[in-house]
């Protein structure tokens, strides 16, 4: 399975996956011109990972700041996908990191968390991770 290594641009987040570790990281601002194209690769990667045998845990790590409307929709679809996997007893977890200087990102993460029953941690970061 091919891992994703999409560098951040001015308007799109860095997307980075580690199949071996069961880790997917999204980092930065997201207001791409074509969010469907960008997030479709993420959906495909997640679906591929979840279909793999034997089943392995997936952790989605988010360091997202600003999301435009279509990115919000894409994120909700990703969470729906993860929720469905969780309902099939697939181990899923989400860690959403935010900067202590911007508490409102945490409030927004809470909104996303609302409909998810898998472990969804919203974690403060004193400094941005390297």
């Amino acid at each position: 399975m091919i891992d994703l290594h999409i560098p951040a641009t001015q308007s799109s987040p860095e997307i980075h996956s580690e199949h071996a570790q069961g880790r997917l990281v999204l980092r930065g601002d997201s207001y791409p011109e074509n969010s469907y194209e960008l997030f479709n690769q993420v959906f495909e990667w997640i679906e591929g990972f979840l279909a793999g045998q034997p089943r392995r845990a997936l952790n989605l790590e988010l360091h997202l700041l600003y999301l435009n409307t279509s990115s919000i929709k894409a994120m909700m679809e990703i969470f729906d996908l993860l929720q469905a996997a969780h309902d099939r007893q697939h181990p899923i977890s989400v860690s959403w990191f935010y900067d202590a200087r911007n508490e409102r990102v945490a409030e927004l993460a809470e909104e996303f968390k609302e409909d998810c029953s898998f472990p969804f941690d919203i974690l403060v970061m004193e400094r941005s991770t390297p």
Binding site: L67, T69, E107, E111
Partner: protein
């Protein structure tokens, strides 16, 4: 099937079985009976198919309604989150604007905002001949305060002087930090004479100020140069005039407020 209908069917069946086949009615009756049987079969088939279609349509309607409901909920959530993101961006924008136009140490307007206000004031002067004056204020012997008490105390002196100036000026005035220990006051609708009165009041207020360094009180004074915006000059020329008057105040022994006068050039 009604009881009478059932009875008729039974009678027909036995008639067709029993009666001699030479009866001329026998053949048409047998054909009629067969046609009747076919029709009944077809009717039942149509009913079955129709019922199946109806329940299929019903199921589709139910699933469509639940899908629409789900999508509506999702849409409402997207809208809610999106609104909050936009709100966050707006607030960040305001904070950024504030940071770009205000001095971090004192919270006063910075040079950028002062320049913007100066441009507006000189435009008002050019178009409607509205007067304005400037006061350039410089803390006396600031370097020696810094050297003697350290930068932190130097910073508190600047903060305290800024606080006094900000408290003393009028609503319509802009008091900003022009440079290190230098403040610029923009006084709209004020001629040089009125500005000089205000300048004197500010000088006095600063003179009254005491800043504590550990247990030692520090007294500061400031020199002030006043200049009214004259008809032909650009605002930068008026700043130069205020600077010149400030220099004069410094030369006259500091802790003074002086107004620029064109007739009396600065002795070099």
């Amino acid at each position: 099937m009604t009881a009478a209908g059932h009875d008729l069917e039974q009678r027909l069946i036995s008639l067709l079985q029993d009666s001699a086949t030479d009866n001329p009615l026998h053949q048409p009756l047998a054909e009629l009976w067969q046609a009747h049987q076919d029709l009944v079969y077809r009717l039942e088939r149509i009913t079955r198919i129709s019922d199946a279609y109806q329940s299929l349509a019903k199921e589709r309607e139910v699933s469509l309604v639940s899908r629409v409901d789900k999508q509506l909920r999702q849409l409402e959530k997207i809208v809610r989150i999106s609104d909050r993101y936009q709100h966050m961006m707006r607030d960040l924008n305001i904070a950024l604007q504030e940071a770009a136009s205000h001095d971090v140490l004192t919270g006063l307007p910075n040079r950028r905002l002062l320049t913007e206000r100066l441009r507006e004031a000189s435009e008002l002067h050019r178009r409607y001949n509205r007067p304005f004056s400037l006061a350039m204020i410089d803390i006396d012997h600031f370097k020696s305060i810094n050297d003697r008490f350290g930068h932190e105390t130097g910073d508190s002196v600047i903060i305290e002087v800024a606080r006094v100036l900000d408290a003393e000026v009028r609503e319509q005035d802009t008091c900003g930090r022009w440079g290190g220990e230098e403040f610029l006051l923009l006084l709209p609708e004020t001629d040089a004479q009125a500005a000089a009165l205000l300048g004197e009041r500010l000088r006095h207020a600063i003179e009254q100020l005491t800043i504590r360094h550990k247990d030692e009180p520090i007294r500061v004074t400031a020199s002030i140069g006043i200049a009214g915006h004259a008809d032909v000059s650009s605002y930068s020329e008026t700043i130069n005039h205020a600077d010149n008057a400030l220099l004069q105040a410094k030369r006259a022994g500091r802790n003074q407020c002086m107004a620029y006068t064109a007739a009396r050039p600065i002795p070099s």
